[in-house]
């Protein structure tokens, strides 16, 4: 792999032909059944939730879901979730815990939806509650970041036992444009900001924030997604096997330690 500038990664992460959750799920999961709604307010299409079987084993899927065209993206808010989306995710996560199913989260969002309704319905509370719930959820959770992992909106589905990123995915505190706008009051310096932000999969791996990087086809996704599907399947198989054999307390202690060790100590 040739060294690339962070901004090239950001642009690669935003290519429209990158695999979306809805492209991957049919290849990863058999008999996928979508489940909807948070049981309080509504159904947020930015989160595609449901269950199916992975190589014969029941599994719950929580996937931030960008659309393939403008119309799909409008109805799915470009994968930017509202509070009811996080609450749907929490409902399905607790269901998975009850029925002892592992969970696969797919992260693909620029961030939580910034809107009036989202704030009125408690976006902050929904994200906070999600972070807290997943920290002690008694079932294995594996998260794969497909393209963009933006801010707390992505983090809410990233508290897990194994966290992976596709090779050209990015994970950041906010978009490079937003970062440049706050730092220099100049959105056009986004490329410069991207370098400073250390937001590539390689940066996160170096900081031990993620467990692995999933290579992408050298010629891009024009050639299709089978390679990436096969690699995600390999990781899933391997992790479900290891995590599934752990005692519950060990699983949870390890998950706690995984997040506890992040950053400088005092």
């Amino acid at each position: 792999m040739s060294p690339q500038k962070a901004w090239d990664r950001v642009q690669a992460a935003r290519q429209p032909n990158r695999p979306k959750a809805m492209d991957l799920i049919p290849y990863l999961i058999d008999h996928f059944i979508e489940l909807s709604g948070d049981r309080h307010y509504g159904d947020d299409q930015a989160l595609l939730g449901g269950l199916g079987s992975f190589e014969g084993q029941p599994i719950t899927i929580l996937a931030q879901s960008k659309g393939r065209d403008l119309q799909e993206n409008m109805s799915r808010h470009f994968g930017m979730m509202h509070p009811e989306g996080y609450r749907k995710a929490m409902r399905l996560a607790k269901q998975a815990e009850k029925f002892k199913r592992p969970i696969l989260c797919l992260v693909d969002t620029a961030g939580a939806y910034p809107g009036l309704g989202a704030e009125e319905r408690g976006q902050a509370e929904a994200i906070a509650a999600s972070l807290k719930l997943f920290a002690t959820l008694k079932t294995p959770v594996i998260t794969v970041v497909l393209s963009e992992g933006g801010s707390g909106g992505a983090l809410a589905l990233s508290v897990c036992d194994k966290l992976y990123m596709l090779e050209n995915a990015i994970y950041s505190i906010l978009s490079p444009e937003g970062f440049a706008s706050i730092l220099w009051k100049d959105e056009s310096r986004a490329a410069e900001a991207a370098e400073l932000m250390e937001c590539t999969a390689q940066d996160l791996y170096a900081k031990k924030l993620i467990d692995g990087i999933i290579p992408e086809p050298a010629q891009g996704f024009a050639s299709g997604i089978p390679d990436v599907v096969a690699q995600i399947k390999d990781l899933l198989r391997q992790d479900l096997n290891t995590l599934g054999s752990l005692k519950e307390t060990v699983l949870l202690d390890r998950r706690y330690a995984k997040y506890r060790q992040i950053g400088a100590r005092v």
Binding site: A112, G115, A124, E125, I127, A128, K132, G152, I262
Partner: protein, 288 residues
Amino acid sequence: MNPQFNTRKERLSLFQKLFPQRSEQTKTAADLSIVMCPSCNHPISQYDLNAQAHVCPGCRYHFPLGVQERLSTLVDPKSFKELYRSANSLKINTFPDYDRKLHKAQELTGLKEAVACGIAEIDGEKIALGIMDSRFIMGSMGQIVGEKITRLIEVATKKKLPLVILTASGGARMQEGVLSLFQMAKTSAALARFDEAGGFYITVLTHPTTGGVSASFAMLGDIILAEPKALIGFAGRRVIEKTINQQLPESFQTAEFLLERGFVDRIVDRTALRQTLGQLLKLHRRHA
């Protein structure tokens, strides 16, 4: 000279005559200085402001508080024992200009970081206490703030102490990038364990509590209190206005807005905060 100034000055000297035992603490030039309320332009002597927990007697505007001022309005005298006081973010990375910003914030606030943590007593009730200072780089949460808060939660869990955190933050700290972001997960995970251990957690949301702090430990209190008119929310107003292409009402993301929508238990005037916390703590005493 402002006539109100003279009236206040007279009142102050009268007060000092009536309560001579207090004069040793109050007879400083700083006490006589006049502060204008930024909300209603009412002139207030520093002395009155201190006596009123830094709330404007005219319009109830709550002045932003530093940690020392907050402690003096909140905890039993001399009860605060600070933990991890020297934890410092200097040289934590090479982000341009970051160390200079940190130095400046340290000089301004007298703190090493945007949160002070420790053990304190309120009305005789022993607690683990965290107080954020919004003047320290917007009270933003970097690795050290996240670590200090996590340590505080762990201490509260181990010592079976109630936990009180007063939040004041613009969110995760940009200069530390994704490592700041992940502090949201770290603090929330520690709170999940505190919760499972039966710990009692009160958050007091003060102006401003937004972004990554609101979307982690701020919103996870068993009881969530807020100071009047505090700005509380996740996304920034300008970002939202840009998304929905319309202006938002003045009341948007205020404590009152959140109370109305069910995300805050109570709005508590700062002058009543100590009493309210004392009451709540007494109702949650753990009988060993």
